[in-house]
């Protein structure tokens, strides 16, 4: 019974992260990863970026953008490792590494955004 609600919990994080990743990440990668570095669009200035990041709403947005997709990754990646490599016996290790990574990333995001000043 305990295990069952755990799976529901992780699946909820997985699907919430999947929605966030699907709707938000493509435009972010397009802008910051391709359009600005390649000069397709004028890159925003440091001041503009700081002004945005100082807004509490933007910080919450960025926190969600960083944390939920990490839990999405953790869920998919652990099943891909189980199934793709047939390493179900390493279940606990993989589980810890994936969700551990997601928690570390979430804490880092929280720390960075909290101390953005």
């Amino acid at each position: 019974m305990e295990r069952q609600s755990n799976e529901a919990f992780f699946w909820t994080l997985f699907s919430a992260g999947g929605v966030i990743a699907a709707i938000l990440i493509p435009v972010h990668i397009f802008l910051f990863g391709l359009a600005f570095p390649l000069g397709w669009l004028p890159a925003p200035s440091y001041e503009h970026m700081m002004a945005l990041v100082r807004l509490p709403v933007v910080r919450i947005y960025l926190f969600v953008l960083c944390s939920l997709p990490l839990f999405h990754w953790a869920h998919r990646f652990r099943y891909t490792l189980f199934d793709g490599l047939q390493v179900k016996h390493l279940n606990e290790v993989i589980f810890t590494l994936c969700y551990g990574g997601a928690v570390v990333g979430t804490v880092l995001a929280g720390y960075l955004l909290w101390n953005m000043g």
């Binding site: 295990r3 069952q4 529901a8 199934d83």
Partner: protein, 260 residues
């Protein structure tokens, strides 16, 4: 269209062989012939030792499922002519991931055990007296589960699902879809009883939504959809129990299934 085609058929004799091998047979191709007709031709005219299951030859008994060129198919509904172009061969193997008894015959008891585990029958907690008449259902209520009730237990979805092969304890697509067929039935009160088997790492949470079960299903049952819908519901129930801890989770699972 070629008038002859080579059928490469997997042969396995438990008394003789350590593992299956392929045997080729040349069979005639007629427009109206399905793969099963070719197998029957081999059995009747060429090699009587070839062993396989079939019965109705009209896509309803679910016993002639085999791998045809690597795809799980009902051989009675797969036309030979669609493979018969420029010297191509047709490879016929037993359904993937199942133990093989002989030639093209798979062992199904594991599937049958899983199927009974999800209690695919109407469960009632109260039995109203017969004088109250039958349980009436509106067309809407019928429509909710009708799709899942089309399953013929042909096990093509098991042969399509990599999780079935990788994780032998996984309950599997057809069994979960059939459980949903009864969960969605307005006459049923057994949702709670099935939850123990379904909302479990070996049940719905084992599924990684490859979606192949739905693609190969000859009856358009959509087991993958059934499983994801159950996951979503279990997740929402979990969120609900989190937001409103007072309410008992399994109770509203049942009343919801009965009401909507």
């Amino acid at each position: 269209m070629a008038d002859k085609i080579i059928l490469e058929v997997a042969r396995y004799s438990p008394e003789r062989d350590a593992k299956p091998s392929f045997q080729s047979y040349e069979v005639p191709v007629y427009k109206e012939w399905v793969v099963l007709d070719a197998l029957n031709y081999i059995k009747d005219q060429v090699d009587g030792s070839l062993t396989y299951r079939w019965s109705c030859r009209m896509g309803i008994c679910g016993s002639c499922g085999m791998m045809v060129n690597g795809e799980p198919k009902l051989t009675c509904a797969t036309f030979l002519s669609s493979y018969a172009h420029n010297g191509s061969k047709v490879r016929v193997e037993p359904l993937r991931y199942f133990p093989v008894v002989r030639d093209l015959v798979t062992e199904l008891s594991d599937f049958l055990v899983k199927l009974t585990k999800v209690k695919p029958w109407l469960i009632r907690h109260d039995e109203p007296p017969l004088t109250q008449g039958e349980f009436l259902q509106t067309p809407d209520q019928l429509d909710r589960y009708k799709q899942f009730s089309m399953c013929i237990n042909c096990t093509l979805c098991y042969a399509a699902c990599p999780v079935v092969g990788l994780d032998p304890v996984f309950v599997g697509p057809a069994a979960i879809a059939l459980a949903q067929r009864y969960n969605m039935d307005s006459r049923d009160q057994g949702t709670e009883e099935r939850t123990a088997v379904l909302a479990h790492p070996e049940g719905i949470w084992g599924c990684t939504f490859v979606g192949e079960c739905t693609r190969v299903c000859p009856k358009h049952v959509d087991p993958a959809g059934a499983i994801q819908q159950y996951k979503l519901k279990a997740a929402l129930d979990w969120v609900k129990s989190f937001v409103m801890p007072g309410e008992h989770k399994s109770k509203d699972v049942r009343s919801e299934a009965a009401n909507d």
